[in-house]
Amino acid sequence: MKKHFIYASIFCLTATGLASCNRDYLTPIPETSVSDASAFSTESRITTQLLSVYEAMKHGNFYGGRFVIYGDIRGEEFINETSNLVTGSDVWSLNPTNSASSVERLWQYAYLTINKANIFIEGMEATGNTVVGNDAGNRYIAEAKVVRAVSYLSLLQYYARPYADGNGNNPGVPLRLTGIKGTGQSEIARSTVAEVYAQILKDLNEAEAALPATYSTSNDNTTRAHKNTAIALKTRVYLTMQNYASVVTEANKIVSTAAPFTAPTGVTHALQPDITTIFTNYTTAESIFSMPMTANAGDNPGTQNQLGYYYSPTVGNKEYSLNPNGIIANTGWTATDKRRSLLATNSGKTWLNKYKTPTTFHDYVPVIRYAEVLLNLAEAKARSTNSVDAQAVALLNAVRNRSDATTTFTAGSFANATALINAILLERRIEFLGEGLRNNDLMRLQQTIPAKGSISAKAPTENGYIWPIAASELALNPLMKDN
């Protein structure tokens, strides 16, 4: 019996001794992610987090793909080939519903970006600036504000009436300016269009003041916001608001008075001699702001979001061909125009071939390039002076002659300001085909969306001229009102 007790004692000692638990295991530290408590604790976490704000904007459901695609397929230049709802056949048909994936996801991803920017701005103000110093901290905040401004501008283009319709007094989108990390903050009403524009301009103005003039690499100069980025974007914002005087003011900061047009300060933006360069060398001085892509997993737009997948007949899925009755039918767009070399013919149809990196389709996606600033300025000059403005004609020629040396406009080419403006608008259709600007060009002027293929025209007064509000927002935010 005594022996048994010895066994038992040894057993108990061993068992309790060895089995003493390891309570640390109960609070595991995530090893593949960073806790929110320490997200602003080091300089590296701050800079990588800043890039994540851009990354959110770059998502294939937002500026890295679909936002740009929708901007074109809403217009008259493309014909849907696959009748696939997943690739926006409803957007093309101008009748997406509240629950359409296009309507839901663009809304969702734009606000994801906005919240990331908000969290970053708040986190920097709270702790981040003390880690990296106020100089760097304020620069970073300014970058986030540019992304936030672009996101709100993007939302307005689909989910709200144009500014021109009632001077922005129509319902805009909810203005969220504080970071949200948990539950209970779903309810928020729509601000007016004017209020949202005011915030966009506030962000861009503050950003312009705080952003660096240049970065050390051409890649950063294209993929991160600097002073001229904020200014260039403002020319777009003001043009959208039909505030032409302000377009001129802003554009003059980065456009020299006479050809060759370049930005006198900051990054020396200028047109590339050959437009096709822009779609192979993504970081030239013409690309003011672009969404960078690589072949790495998660660093490209992802399945069915890629521009090349939609448009290219050589590497893509041929989702959309070019409307034979659209801009490609324009006889003023000469056959030798370099921009026609960005088109391709296949199966008896014409296709856009600007984006032609094969899978994983990691072409950079342009947000704004210098050619747009020039044409923004040209149009604003023509409209604000209501004349055949000489600088406007020169700016138009800069864009045209770069690709088509045979066509040079003179003041005599235009009967009046309207003719000049129409020429500029036409030039935009040629120059920015497939770069997502067409929708905004129609909306800002409250033009009827022209008919295409089997789809009839859509007047500004008609249902479907702008998108409905995402169904999930209506379901979960009781203060939200549909369009």
Binding site: C21, R45, Q49, K58, G182, G298, L476
Partner: protein, 1048 residues
């Protein structure tokens, strides 16, 4: 010959009777059977060879044969001197021992609700893992085999679905160590880790259902606990046994499709009905032999599968050491081509008594499983709408297309991923793949290495006290090899695609228990258990994905590729630290009380610590004097009333870092980024199940009939829901909250009877039925409904308070208009809306009048019928009754088993049916020839006037009620006919036993369901709220096997 014990008292005129005792199961001999002369103290015991020798007095003597686990048998000696006896296994009897978690208990003493299934019942069924064999075996257990894909985990529910976001799968404990459940394949093969347990090695399966039986597993007990006990050695001579079978599997009840001629006629008529499609042409060309192409695509996809299985085990032991060693090999072919399952496994169990006080032992089990598939079956969770899903391709592809070109090459389109169709169809947007090509070119294999092992030391310092320490491991290593050819299919867009994915799941567990059993005063029986346990799991996974192959002849990941990326990264860890206790008490085996308590601390919760408990009481009335006085004990051998109540939890499936809000890494143009990526909840806790249970267990006529009746209710609260916030809040994920509520209640009934019980003929019958009602009572504020999509494309399940989970949510139809052949929809207001796919000028697609002239305008201003606006909560998908009926007959050396299983009172959305009647170029089921509207006056037609490209009238564009059917079925799950060779014959060839049998699975299905099989689930085992959907799913197979069980 060794006699273990022989009575030697001498009587006058004694004589000797000898004989051999065998089991009726397989004819093997039974050692240790007590043989006694009725009414005397004379007795003997059979030796290791089952032989006995006993001297009996003269006169009318009766011998009684008894042994634990067998029914007692009495035989009149008369003038015989040799009496061979075949004992009948009584696994259903109350005397059986049940596993209760950290111990065992006599079933007679158990007051919790526990169902037991003998391993022998499922060992010879041609399943990959044991759970599939549990269907219908014990009340409360619902098994739905989700598809005909090999080794797909079944939908396994105990007393209903008890969670929405977390797992509803029971906790599986193998020899004391919890193991992995689910599907660990990263590709298109399915890999259920429970397949590592060779069904032949299972001694018993015990299913704990109520709070009393499960509370000892605390925070993991809500879905029930299943205890698997593997076989161990018994003392005695070495026993060697071989079990093997071979068989064939086939599909059944496949839809009958149009042949080429019918297809052409029918589709051309549909084209003529759609002026917009008038340019579409369909052409039948000839094959290489000059015959018109008429492809039966089902034959390209399905096959007759050939399977075989071999198991060899050696067991034995001395007085102090017992061992069991087993090895098995099985190679099974599914009905889908190239879908194979191959397992090689070994198990070694040993128990050794070192001294009177100390016992050590353990087990080691290794299994290697190859789960093979060429490509998607379209049947696993998320695959339903795969363009390359084989189940879908078998029905969608037109018979006028051929698998091969006339030059013998595979028929594939060089310009896209699809089948080549340009010779036969003028339609350009065909995106479906050639299954023959996919089967020839691709592979998606998963290989599992699974090690389950434990070691224990047990010390009994004095009588009554048992100290035990067990350390166990469960290592699951999964290696996936995936290749998609650049020539066609999913690999086309990426110019080929190969992945190697490795996953490593490791669990260790250390349990220390002390148990003290004591009887006081011959009346008070106490059994006290206290224990401590810790369990840690770590998960690691990584994969390499390579795209853009450098040479089309390459098929390996290690070959030349242009793009390299990571895939399937997994990193996790969790830890469960627990203390537990149990007190069982009974007074004279008449009044029973038990209490279980467990405290768990779990790393993946915000609130780590939880306390769980269960209490039960029982009353064995047959022990009462009044019962005996009333002579009721003559009828009832036992009659126990029991009840239990308790609170347990569910943490199954919570992500390891769920409570934390975290920032994850990404890339911005090649630069590293860090972004708020996951919204946590620091207050997250377990889901709570409050279970009550009241029941009666009884035995009649010396347990010739036993049965049980139980009522149960499980109130589930604090259900974790990932509650969506307004998207404008910009949260990267939906925060988890403990917020929902649901209940299951029901009644279980089981009856087991030895209907006929003579020496030559026995009939035992076991019947059980479970009535279950599930109702969701609360979701979250702002979350009125929860929709569950099928493979991301179609949503047909909607969960809402007041309904059972995953109710079908479909648009109603009102038949086909006899005058025009238009589909009639019923809108949200109950109004008829007439639909025509092609609307002539001046008419509308959706109209409130049959002539199409009045445009339909919905109450919200829409002009079409949509699911969002017009669908209704239509039908329940959870069976209201389910169970089984098992009959076993033995006549002399023949045995016959007939097993029926059934599920009643539920509905299935037969989504496949919409595809079968889609009026695009898709092939159709043959019933369109008779059931589609053709001309004015055609009444009661199921399908609208065929108009080419119409995908609305049939239900492809939104789910319709016409594709919802009653799923009620009764299946002839298993029929086995066996013959046991007489032992007299076998001793000559040195064999102990030999049984041969033929067996059939799923021989007949009694159902009104029109699809191949109502027992399927497109959303698979893991879906709690997406059951009752059959979307392009490959049905279960019918299998015939021939088998041998031999003992040496």
């Amino acid at each position: 010959m060794l006699f273990l014990a022989v009575s030697v008292t001498a009587y006058g005129q004694d004589r000797v009777v000898t004989g051999v005792v065998t089991t009726s199961d397989d004819g093997s001999t039974v050692p240790g059977v007590s043989v006694s002369v009725k009414g005397t103290s004379r007795g003997a015991t059979t030796d290791a060879d089952g032989k006995y020798r006993i001297s009996v007095p003269s006169g009318n003597v009766v011998l009684v044969f008894s042994s634990i686990g067998f029914q007692k048998q009495e035989i009149e000696v008369a003038s015989k001197s040799v009496i061979d006896v075949r004992l009948i296994n009584d696994s259903s009897e109350l005397s059986e021992v049940v596993v209760i978690g950290y111990g065992t208990q006599s079933k007679r003493d158990a007051t919790g609700s526990i169902g037991s299934v003998s391993g022998a019942k499922i060992a010879q069924m041609p399943n990959q893992s044991f759970e599939s064999g549990l269907a219908g075996r014990t009340p409360g257990v619902q098994i739905t085999v989700p598809s005909g894909v090999l080794n797909a985990p079944p939908v396994f529910r105990i007393r209903g679905t008890n969670s929405i976001s977390l797992s509803s799968y029971p906790l599986i404990i193998v020899d004391g160590v919890p193991t992995f459940t689910g599907n660990y394949s990263a590709g298109n093969a399915s890999s259920n880790p429970l397949a590592s347990i060779n069904p032949n090695d299972i001694e018993s399966i015990d299913v704990a259902k109520d709070a009393a039986a499960t509370a000892i597993y605390g925070s993991r007990a809500a879905n029930g606990v299943v205890f698997i006990t593997t076989k161990r050695g018994k003392s005695g001579k070495v026993r060697v046994s071989y079990d093997g079978w071979a068989g064939v599997s086939n599909t059944y009840r496949l839809p009958e499709m149009l042949n080429a001629q019918e297809y052409l006629t029918f589709k051309r008529m549909a084209i003529a009905n759609n002026p917009n499609a008038s340019t579409t042409t369909l052409t039948q060309t000839n094959d290489a032999n000059g015959n018109p192409i008429d492809t039966k695509w089902q034959d390209q996809v399905y096959r007759q599968g050939i399977s075989h299985s071999h198991n060899l085990n050696v067991s034995g032991g001395s007085e102090n050491t017992n061992y069991y060693f087993s090895t098995g090999y099985t190679n099974q072919q599914g009905v889908i081509r190239k879908n194979d399952f191959e397992r090689l496994n070994a198990l070694f169990n040993v128990d050794s008594k070192l001294t009177k006080a100390v016992t050590v032992g353990g087990k080691i089990s290794y299994s290697n499983e190859k789960n093979l598939a060429a490509t998607s079956s379209g049947s696993l969770n998320g695959e339903a709408f795969n363009t390359g899903g084989l189940g879908r391709l078998a029905i969608v592809l037109p018979p006028i297309l051929a698998p091969y070109n006339n030059d013998g090459s595979l028929n594939i389109n060089r310009d896209n991923a699809a089948i080549g169709s340009s010779n036969n169809m003028s339609i350009t947007n065909i995106s479906y793949y050639n299954p023959t090509a996919l089967l020839a070119l691709n592979r998606s294999n998963s290989e599992v290495s699974h090690i389950q092992s434990n070691a224990y030391i047990q010390v009994v310092p004095f009588k009554g006290l048992t100290l035990k320490s067990t350390y166990g491991i469960d290592y699951l290593l999964v290696d996936n090899d995936i290749f998609q050819s650049p020539l066609t299919g999913d690999g086309y867009a990426t110019k080929g695609n190969a992945s190697g994915v490795f996953r490593k799941e490791k669990t260790w567990l250390w349990t220390n228990t002390a148990q003290y059993d004591r009887n006081f005063g011959g009346a008070h029986n106490f059994s006290l258990l206290i224990g401590q346990e810790q369990q840690r799991n770590t998960s690691r996974g990584f994969g390499l994905n390579r795209q853009s192959i450098s040479d089309n002849a390459y098929t390996e990941l290690q070959a030349g590729w242009a793009n390299n990326n990571y895939t399937n990264l997994v990193y996790g860890e969790n830890y469960l630290l627990s203390g537990f206790g149990r007190l069982n008490y009974n007074y004279k085996e008449k009044y029973y009380l038990s209490g279980n308590l467990r405290q768990d601390e779990y790393s993946a919760l915000g609130v780590k610590k939880g306390t769980f408990w269960g209490a039960s009481a029982g009353w064995e009335i047959t022990q009462e004097n009044f019962w005996k006085n009333a002579k009721l004990d003559n009828i009832f051998s036992s009659f126990k009333v029991r009840g239990s109540y308790g609170k347990v939890g569910n943490i199954g499936g919570i992500g390891d870092y769920t409570p934390y809000s975290t920032y994850g890494s990404g890339l911005y143009g090649g630069s590293a980024t860090l972004a708020f990526s996951s919204v946590g909840n620091p207050n997250l806790k377990w889901e709570t199940s409050t279970k009550s249970d009241v029941g009666i267990n009884f035995g009649i006529l010396n347990d010739r009939i036993t049965g049980e009746v139980a009522y149960y209710k499980n109130n589930v609260n604090n259900l974790i829901l990932y509650v969506a916030q307004a998207p404008s809040a910009g949260l990267p994920s939906n925060p988890p909250q403990n917020i929902g509520a649901m209940y299951n209640q029901g009644l279980e009934l089981a009856l087991n009877a030895r209907v006929i019980n003579t020496n030559n003929f026995q009939w035992t019958s076991n019947f059980n039925i479970t009535f279950n009602k599930n109702e969701v009572t609360a979701l979250a504020p702002g979350m009125d409904v929860l929709q569950t999509g099928t493979a991301g494309l179609e949503t047909v399940n909607q969960t809402a308070p007041g309904y059972s989970i995953g109710n079908l949510w479909v648009v109603r139809t009102g038949g086909v208009d006899p005058a025009t052949g238009k589909r009639i929809f019923i809108n949200s207001q109950g109004t008829k809306v007439y639909y025509q796919y092609y609307a002539p000028s001046g008419q509308y697609n959706y109209s409130t009048t049959p002539d199409g002239l009045t445009r339909y305008v919905s109450p919200s201003g829409g002009t079409s019928i949509t699911q969002a606006a017009d669908a209704v909560m239509y039908a329940n998908v959870n069976p209201k009754q389910y169970g089984g009926w098992d009959n076993n007959f033995k006549f002399k050396n023949f045995d016959l088993g007939v097993m029926l299983t059934y599920q009643l009172g539920f509905n299935v959305y037969y989504g496949t049916n919409s595809g079968l009647h889609d009026q695009r170029w898709w092939n159709n089921a043959r019933d369109v020839l008779t059931e589609a509207w053709m001309k004015e006056g055609d009444t009661d037609k199921k399908y609208a006037k065929p108009v080419f490209n119409d995908n609305v009238s049939n239900g492809s564009s939104m789910p319709l009620d016409m594709n919802v059917f009653k799923g009620d079925f009764v299946k002839l799950r298993n029929v086995t006919l066996g013959y046991t060779l007489p032992s007299s014959l076998l001793t000559k060839v040195k064999m102990n036993s030999l049984r041969v049998y033929v067996s059939g699975q799923n021989l007949a299905v009694l159902t009104k369901y029109p699809g191949p099989d109502p027992e399927v689930s497109s959303n698979g085992f893991s879906s709690t709220s997406g059951q009752g959907v059959d979307r392009n799913t490959v049905g279960n197979s019918r299998t015939f096997t021939f088998g041998i069980k031999a003992g040496f």
